[in-house]
Each structure stands twice: as structure tokens, then as C-alpha cells.
Symmetry: C2
Subunit: 133 residues, 2 copies
DNA sequence: TTTCATGCAAAAGGTTTGCATGACC
DNA sequence: GGTCATGCAAACCTTTTGCATGAAA
């Protein structure tokens, strides 16, 4: 059994994630939590986020060269993500028919997280690149 | 119209991606391509890969803190990915029933790529962590 | 010949880690 | 009191970028 201590730092990080409706990165969470705990370190934020991901409380949206974005898994609120490659905006879409079946998984693989992401260009960015031509 | 030059470096990167059945990262591709072009730089590999992703020829599998893995999109061979969080292994599963519908997308969003990923722990890693307890 | 890609090396982030200190149980 | 988390700062790794050179069209 993994022992997890209920520190004030951990509480603050969880609270910050719960309250926002955006998909913040570690630096944003850090600056946010500093309002309450001015001395909390970025390292602690990262360690806490890692633990939350391992516990299945939080999921990540990862993009090469960009900061990982974190998303609190509110109960009964399954959704997937739409990611704009141009500006990095992330939208939520409801997961009515989640594709959880996953036949053909490797033998013995234990699924912890299913992520469905639509990558492309949002309307605003598409307009801008049209104008540029 | 974007002008893309057909350089030997570009050819070599594409060939390396076509030939492998793994999901290599930029460093692996670099060392591989060096067999033919000993002076090719890692920067060029990255720039080429970026272009290939933009062109829709290649897709990425991204993990925070880990090197991005690249996957050549062989025609008529749609598949999704199974990612082991412990050892980083990536498996392919066929995309028989791809969840491409995506109702509820933001207005005007142009989808370029749909990625469905199953994250969890592979059989081998699960065994090892059991033994450790 | 003009333009774009390359190589090199340095810089820029983001994330992880070691260690002494402090907080939790 | 023992153990684990924290803060700090340095290290690490991946990826990006500036610039002079070289190769494609």
C-alpha cells in the first residue's frame, strides 16, 4: 500500500486543479498555489502532479516541446480533448460513446487511461493563416 | 503553396521511418540515418520530422519528459497506440472501429489527426511490480 | 542565381534529482 | 521518533534557434 501524506502543498495543488476550468500547466499551477503557500517549489508541484496522475485523479495532455497540461477528472464528466496545433488551445468534448472496448490489447495489459484527442487547427487560427496567403 | 525541397537528408529520414516497425525517437532516427549521411545533424532531423508531421505523413506519440516517438502513417493501415507508462513500450492495435465521428467539435475546427491512446501498464511491468511488494 | 535547407553550436524550456531540512503520522 | 515530503538549486534531456555555408530548383 502506497503511503501518501496529506500535506498542505498537496491540498493546495488539488484545490487549484479542481477550481479551474482550463487545462493548466505546472507553472500556472505553481503561481496559482503560491497565493496561499508562497514558498511552495515548482519541484513539489511536479512531484504532486505525478502522484495525482499515478492515482488516476488527474490526466495529462502532452505536446512535444510544450509544457504538459493537467486536467482534473471530475466524476461523471468524461470528456475528450480537441487540441489546436497552432495556438495550443484545448477544448473539451463530451464522451458520450467512449471507445473503451479496445479489443486487440496486448495480453495482460492493464488500461489505466483512455485518451482520445482530435488535433488540428481551430477556427481563429485557420482564418489567420488564410489571411496570410 | 509551401515549397519543400527533396534533399538527401529528407529522403533518408523518410526511408528510415518507412523501414522500421518500431516507434523511434529523433535520436534513434539520427543515429540510423548517419549510416548513410554521417554529417547529418540532429537539428535537421527535427526540422524534417516537423515538416513530415505538418504534411500529415507522420504522426507523433508524445510523453512529458520523454523523447517524442514518430510513426509513419502507412496507407490503409490505421491503428492506435497502447503505451506502457512503466517501460515506455508502445504497441499497435488495429483501428477497426475508429471513433472518428467527433460530434461536438468547436465550430470551424479542422481536424488533421485523431489519436486514440490506451495508457497503462504492460504485462511484464505489472509482474515486476507485484514481485516487488 | 535565388532561395531554401543544412550543420554547427549555443540557448531555451521543461522536468527530474540530490540532499539537507522540516512536516506529517 | 521515524519516515516521507519539501525547498532549493543544479543537472538533465529534449527541442528550438541564429547564422554562415552549401545545395536544390
Amino acid at each position: 500500500m502506497t503511503m501518501v501524506r496529506n500535506t498542505r502543498q498537496r491540498q493546495a495543488v488539488v484545490q487549484a486543479l479542481r477550481e479551474t476550468h482550463t487545462h493548466p500547466d505546472a507553472a500556472w499551477i505553481h503561481s496559482q498555489v503560491r497565493g496561499e503557500l508562497p514558498n511552495i517549489s515548482l519541484g513539489t508541484v511536479y512531484r504532486t502532479l505525478d502522484a495525482l496522475v499515478r492515482d488516476g485523479v488527474v490526466m495529462t495532455i502532452e505536446r512535444a516541446g510544450q509544457a504538459t497540461r493537467y486536467d482534473y477528472k471530475h466524476a461523471g464528466h468524461g470528456h475528450h480533448h480537441v487540441v489546436c496545433r497552432s495556438c495550443g488551445a484545448i477544448y473539451d468534448i463530451d464522451a458520450e460513446d467512449l471507445p473503451t472496448p479496445a479489443l486487440g490489447l496486448p495480453a495482460g495489459f492493464q488500461v489505466q487511461d483512455v485518451r482520445l484527442e482530435y488535433h488540428g487547427v481551430c477556427a481563429t487560427c485557420a482564418e489567420h493563416s488564410e489571411k496570410r496567403v
